[in-house]
Symmetry: C2
Subunit: 390 residues, 2 copies
DNA sequence: GGTGATTTGTTGACTTTGGCAACCTAACAC
DNA sequence: GTGTTAGGTTGCCAAAGTCAACAAATCACC
């Protein structure tokens, strides 16, 4: 019963190799040998097994102008795919993502009003049904990953509280799984953005990073420590928005006074600029950079200084390599990176600040879908042998 | 060269078994079989190896009044020991600690004034020389662990900045290693306290916990996430003291305004009580509990509320199971646990607060020495085979 | 274009290691 | 004493990775 130790080892090594080609992209067999430190023959056998499972494919090597026998390139099999779902205030987005990290198709279903959980599930299920044509015969879908803008109990995908959507204790994963017939995994959108950022964005190669994302209705985020995403005891970690940054009276979405989310807001910037709420992140950034009105500058400085307080607190406690800012926080930073840099420096211990980077996220919308899909891939990556037997 | 995979496996399993008996204390072979899921024969071989290395011993089982053949009890070998060193403002403490976690001897060398790094090394070396009598023939010392009240670069034991001691960039490990001839490892005292607390204190069994320690001159702490101590990028994580908690003007040891360390102080409590600085933690707690003077109450409430802000921020971000408070923070909490509880609850998301415990540390002074010794044991626990060949 | 150097895949023998099962031992219970 | 139960011991087996020898594929140089 109890998986024999040998099995454990084999699985672990298979996992390592599969993760490697998944994250690094196509890699030669010789490269895998070097990266893992395993023997050539072992890699050979391993790749053969993974190929048999249909998880990877071998290609003829590219001409490298190098002496010696060319090594076949191992790449993940593009057939293997996952569905990503992202419910938002005004739309539900569904995408088909390959294990190779490529978004194959993407459907955005706009909604006139904020969808209920049931409506979001219906919409997502319909969109997935539309995708069946693309899937049939072409892809093996391993599951669905949902990026939820709110607190999610990761163990069973229960949405505890999604303030923007107005959802409370919605068994989202269960409902969606019943509707589409695939296993469903849900996670906090910021955490998933963080993961995508670490794997393919500003945080590549970092083991300790903090990610803050500024959205229309609040600030979320996530933390990676020692290379692992911090889930916390129940999976709710990363709520930077409710960190107290001043004694002010402004109130955030949870009713707390003087918090980051209360003081640093998208709407505050838009008001100062005289813009409406329908401005996207890029437009906001351009408008901020273009404006030299004193009131805009004052608001930007005020927000940057508050942001610095929250960042400094987290940096002192976690000593990360990088802080990655997404959404309107990236726009805010872009206006005056130096001010933010110095403000954080003034509130952190010099030794801790040493070597800290504060970067903007590269996170495109696709990257978030990739992060969600990653959730669905996790099972296969964790135990390659589980694939294909279902 | 490259350790064969077989070796890795064997080492990993050996490590697991040794860690088990180290942390859980004496355990029957049958118990190990159950805990590891390995085969009886495997455990048998493993224990034999570890016994041969001199790391563990087998004892006759205690009478258990249980049917069946009694299983020999496996315990770590008490011969294996480490030295722990703890430099403080007014003394340097040195202890001899067994791998079984027992403090064999303990020497406190008082100092009329705060020692320089060189003086601390000299004192420690002298104390260790005094211990030779206890060591010779009776113990195999694997190394020295130093608990430093300040920022330590863990990789090489360089003390970057220890404000209370007035040290900056002192190569403490190097100096001490040269003086005593044992390998020396240094770590932040709060981190070590945290470890000891997790292994044998209030945080037993927790995978996510936050630890804050209030000392005479400041507040330090540490974080465990997913069962691992958060070191951060450079090993400086855990500086909770410099989290901003108010817009006040009080300044902390690093010159930051309105931080936890500036607002929540031992001296503030002592002043309110009309006591001097030489009060120890227990006396302080009793005095606080005994007093019902309004000014004491007011000061306690003020400090508790500030503490709650810092805790809430960390709790929102890290979603731990337990917050452990040590030093005078434990005394502060003891006066009015409910106020602290409710103040934190009022500043954290309900879902995140759910199931959170806020406890006092059990950390005795001995436990800190054990934490420091643990640092020295880490190498042996990590690769049992490395022991005895030196 | 042939020859050698270099790198890498392939194959089968070898080694290590843990699992397994049969057997033996030591306690309790009646 | 005999039965029952739990656990150590031993020899055999299977799995998995290493190793070494060989084959293949490329480049470089004559």
């Amino acid at each position: 019963m109890h998986g024999s130790s040998h099995d454990d080892v084999r699985r672990h090594i298979q996992r390592t190799v599969l993760r490697l080609v998944h994250h690094r992209g196509p890699t030669s067999r010789a490269g895998l040998t070097r990266l893992t430190g395993l023997n050539r023959s072992t890699i050979s056998a391993l790749v053969a097994q993974l190929t048999a499972l249909g998880l990877v494919e071998e290609r003829q090597p590219d001409a490298t102008n190098q002496v010696g026998r060319p090594s076949p390139v191992v790449a993940v099999n593009g057939r293997v795919a996952a569905l990503a779902v992202h419910p938002e205030i005004d739309a539900v987005t569904v995408a088909l993502v390959g294990l190779d990290g490529v978004v194959r198709r993407r459907i955005r279903c706009p909604m006139p009003q904020t969808p209920s959980a049931a409506a979001a599930v219906r919409l997502a299920a319909d969109a997935i049904a539309d995708l069946r044509g693309d899937i049939e015969g072409r892809h093996d879908v391993v599951g669905v990953g949902v990026a939820v803008p709110g607190l999610v109990r990761t163990s069973d995908g229960l949405v505890r509280h999604a303030p923007h959507l107005g959802w409370t204790d919605e068994p989202l994963s269960e409902m969606l799984a019943a509707a589409v017939g695939y296993p469903v995994h849900a996670g906090n959108d910021a955490s998933l953005g963080l993961l995508a950022e670490r794997d393919g964005g500003s945080g590549v190669g970092c083991t300790d990073l903090i990610y803050l994302n500024g959205g229309a209705s609040g600030i979320g985020g996530g933390v990676i420590v020692g290379g692992r995403v911090v889930g916390g005891h129940a999976g709710y970690a990363g709520e930077f928005g409710h960190t107290r940054v001043s004694d002010g009276t402004a109130v955030d979405s949870a009713g707390f006074r003087g918090t980051l989310e209360a003081e640093v807001t998208r709407s505050g910037l838009l008001n100062a600029l005289g813009l409406t709420g329908e401005t996207d992140a890029d437009t906001l950034e351009h408008a901020l950079l273009a404006s030299d009105a004193p009131r805009v500058k004052a608001e930007v400085h005020r927000q940057l200084d508050h942001l610095a307080v929250a960042l400094a607190g987290a940096v002192n406690v976690l000593n990360p390599q990088v802080v990655v800012l997404g959404g309107f926080l990236a726009a805010l930073r872009a206006v005056d990176p130096d001010r933010l840099h110095h403000a954080v420096a003034a509130l952190t211990l010099p030794t801790v600040f040493e070597g800290l980077r504060i970067d903007a996220a590269m996170l495109g919308s696709d990257l978030l879908m990739i992060g969600a899909a990653e959730l669905a891939f996790a099972g296969v990556l964790d135990d390659p042998h589980s694939f294909g037997r279902a």
